[in-house]
């Protein structure tokens, strides 16, 4: 089981955590909602839950709960710039198809 960050994503997570001034890492989660069944969520983490797993890439902690991990195994989180817009993108090998907006997906 593994999730990872690209260097660009790691840099941005570190920058965001520094600006926020607190937090131990970044949570990747999957929620059952959205137009294609599942949706990604990205949150700062202040406290760990018992079923959380911690992955460390380039000094940045990624936190994933057990349920989400099954659907996120092998995912790489990237940070990309598209024109003036910039943000995170999931490269998830488990996703069979995703909706046009990219906010939700199906396995």
């Amino acid at each position: 089981m593994q999730v990872s960050l690209t260097p660009a994503a790691a840099r941005h997570v570190e920058k965001s955590l520094a600006k926020r001034g607190s937090g131990i890492g970044l949570r990747l989660a999957v929620k059952t909602s959205g137009c294609s069944g599942f949706a990604y969520a990205l949150e700062f983490v202040d406290v760990l839950n018992p079923d959380d797993q911690c992955f460390e890439t380039a000094g940045t902690k990624l936190i994933v709960d057990a349920k989400s991990l099954a659907m996120l195994d092998g995912t790489e989180l990237d940070f990309v710039r598209e024109g003036l817009n910039e943000g995170f993108k999931f490269n998830n090998p488990n996703a069979k198809n995703s909706c046009g907006c990219g906010e939700s997906f199906a396995v």
């Binding site: 997570v13 949150e43 003036l84 995170f88 907006c101 906010e103």
Partner: protein, 625 residues
């Protein structure tokens, strides 16, 4: 494909649920837009990385517009069609613009607001502002990857209803949904208060490009309360540029800035601004100007000379600061921190003056240009429903008292000055004459006791009142000021439920110089106002007594003998005479007291007579409970 942002724990929105919101600082000189991304509020840059959008709009012959830096660069070439500092014209009529003659624009006095004549036709300040807002909206939508669900736009604390309404109109034209208008210093306090969790009493000193605002704020446990506001809507960085330009002209024996052709005025002002900015980091700066005849002029301005030039302007900011402190009933010793806002606070002379005045090192951790936009973005995020909502409550104040006219041309204040907004206040009024079926309500703004000395905002009528004796009806007049500072007034007769209502949108606004002078007049005239009020009240009492006596005589005159009637008539004549001749309040009071003494016995007899009438022919039993 949408790109994701990091959310606060437990707050990541469901897909398609995150609502994009932004805060806009629509400034006189520069405008900015900021948004909360990954739980941090930041200003959004344009494609060249610039945060500040110069608030400059240039109209071209083919109807196209150029906004921002590109327009600013053309300012010197095309001054008539390049509109700068349009914020100063928002909601203003030509009469409000004292310096209109010194500006390179062709103004057209419109109903309520000036129009600007350009090659593309006539444009109102609202349309010009809408161009700026539209440019910011496009920037934000490109940057956030979706359309904005709502924005918070900041306005100077001293903006009146007309100016606020004009700002809202501009946003509507630009296709923006305004969640709220927010006072600029209050936005700055949000930016600082939330980032640093500070508590205490703060002064927000905001010296922007064209406006100066001072606000005294109290921060307790995340709750902001604005204790008072003050300022000068015609004082800012531009005035320092003008002072340098005037000095330059004097140095070279030129006949003032206004005597130069418009394009050279602009060149000189641009050079003056560059020199001012250079002096923030250097000890001297050079200015150059090439005249129409090819002659080249230059002068070197030292920091010390600039301090002398700017001193009167800085002094004006400090006197407004003193007034605001006085309104908050505070002195500098009670201020725990001073926040600097606005690009002009980068000038060392401004910083030094603030430090010396408050005896405190002012706070300037955040970029003074961005503070306001960042605070607005934080509030926009909460209002759009992205944050956890009720973390903080925000209170603004109204700058002048609001009230209605009562008998004798007096003002009854319903909402006192510096009341926190939003607010609803109600007061009961009654009829003055028997059988009165209508009431005219005159809404006024100001601190004086007499209507003539206050500013008239609106008039409306409450009709169809049930006929009743004077004083029997209860008419509740409610004043409501919403969170944007817009006023609505309603009147309701309590027994019949008859209602009338008005939204106050004054045709043009009051400048803060007018506000300041109205306040000064009120203080200076407080003695005579009090005497006037006492006299008017005595006159109203006297008239009411005369009316009552007259109708009593008509009804029950038979209860009196001719001598008694004579005595009452005599007392009535004296009162009427003193009313007629506007006798001093003491004399009038004496005569009304005499009249009421003369009618005491009469009143007692009427009372007995009416009781007898009520009891006549009725058995004792029927009166028992």
């Amino acid at each position: 494909m949408a790109l994701l942002q990091i959310a606060e724990p437990g707050q990541s929105a469901a897909p398609h649920q995150h609502r994009l919101a932004a805060g806009i600082d629509l400034g006189t000189t520069n405008s900015l837009i900021a948004s909360v991304k990954s739980a941090v509020a930041e200003c959004l840059p344009d494609e060249y990385g610039a945060m500040l959008l110069p608030s400059v709009v240039r109209y071209l012959e083919d109807g196209a517009t150029v906004v921002g830096r590109a327009a600013q660069e053309q300012q010197a070439i095309d001054p008539h069609n390049t509109i700068v500092s349009v914020k100063r014209f928002m909601g203003r009529s030509l009469a409000d613009l004292k310096d209109a003659a010194a500006l390179p624009y062709q103004f057209k006095d419109g109903p309520g607001m000036v129009g600007l004549h350009t090659v593309a036709g006539e444009r109102s300040p609202v349309q010009v502002s809408a161009e700026i807002l539209n440019t910011l909206r496009q920037r934000a939508e490109a940057s956030l990857g979706g359309s904005l669900s709502g924005v918070v736009i900041t306005v100077p604390a001293y903006f009146d209803d007309a100016q606020r309404q004009a700002t809202k109109d501009a946003a509507r034209i630009a296709g923006l949904n305004v969640l709220r208008l927010l006072n600029e210093p209050t936005a700055a306090a949000i930016a600082y208060g939330l980032d640093q969790q500070a508590e205490g009493t703060f002064a927000v000193y905001d010296l922007g490009g064209g406006t100066f605002d001072i606000s005294i704020l109290k921060l307790t446990q995340g709750v902001f309360e604005v204790l008072s506001t003050g300022g000068d809507s015609a004082l800012g960085g531009d005035d320092f540029d003008s002072a340098i330009a005037a000095w330059f002209c004097a140095e070279h024996g030129l006949n003032g800035v206004a005597a130069l052709p418009p394009s050279q005025q602009r060149l000189l002002l641009t050079a003056a601004r560059a020199a001012k900015e250079k002096l923030s980091n250097h000890d001297s700066a050079e200015l150059c100007l090439t005249l129409a005849d090819g002659q080249s002029l230059a002068a070197i301005l030292s920091r010390a000379q600039f301090a002398t030039l700017g001193a009167p302007l800085i002094a004006r900011t400090l006197s407004a600061t003193r007034r605001a402190l006085r309104d908050a009933q505070l002195n500098t010793a009670l201020i725990t921190g001073v926040v600097l806002v606005g690009g002009s606070t980068r000038m060392p002379i401004a910083r030094d003056a603030v430090r010396d005045y408050f005896g405190l090192e002012p706070l300037a951790d955040l970029d003074p240009d961005q503070v306001v936009a960042i605070g607005a973005a934080l509030q926009a995020n909460v209002l759009a429903g992205n944050g956890s909502g009720d973390q903080w409550l925000l209170l603004d104040v109204c700058p002048l008292s609001l009230g209605i006219e009562t008998m004798g041309g007096l003002v009854e204040k319903v909402i006192p000055r510096n009341s926190t907004l939003p607010t609803v206040r109600a007061q009961d009024f009654t009829t003055f004459k028997d059988g009165q079926t209508a009431m005219s309500l005159h809404v006024v703004q100001g601190e004086r006791e007499s209507v003539a000395d206050c500013r008239s905002l609106a008039r409306f009528e409450l009709r169809g009142l049930p006929p009743a004796v004077a004083g029997a009806l209860h008419i509740r007049v409610s004043f409501q000021i919403d969170a944007d500072g817009l006023l609505s007034v309603s009147a309701r007769e309590q027994s019949s439920g008859i209602e009338a209502h008005i939204e106050v949108k004054p045709s043009y606004g009051l400048g803060d110089e007018q506000i300041a002078s109205m306040l000064q007049d009120a203080i200076a005239a407080s003695q005579s106002d009090m005497r006037l009020r006492a006299l008017r009240e005595a006159q109203i009492d006297a008239r009411r007594l005369l009316d009552a006596t007259e109708s009593a005589l008509a009804e029950d005159g038979g209860l009196l003998n001719p001598t008694e009637i004579d005595a009452i008539h005599k007392a009535m004549y004296t009162v009427a005479d003193r009313l007629e001749t506007e006798a001093p309040v003491e004399e009038l009071r004496l005569s009304t007291n005499a009249l009421s003494a003369a009618t005491d016995a009469f009143a007692a007899r009427r009372m007995n007579a009416s009781i007898q009438k009520a009891l006549a022919g009725r058995a004792m039993d029927s009166l028992m409970p």
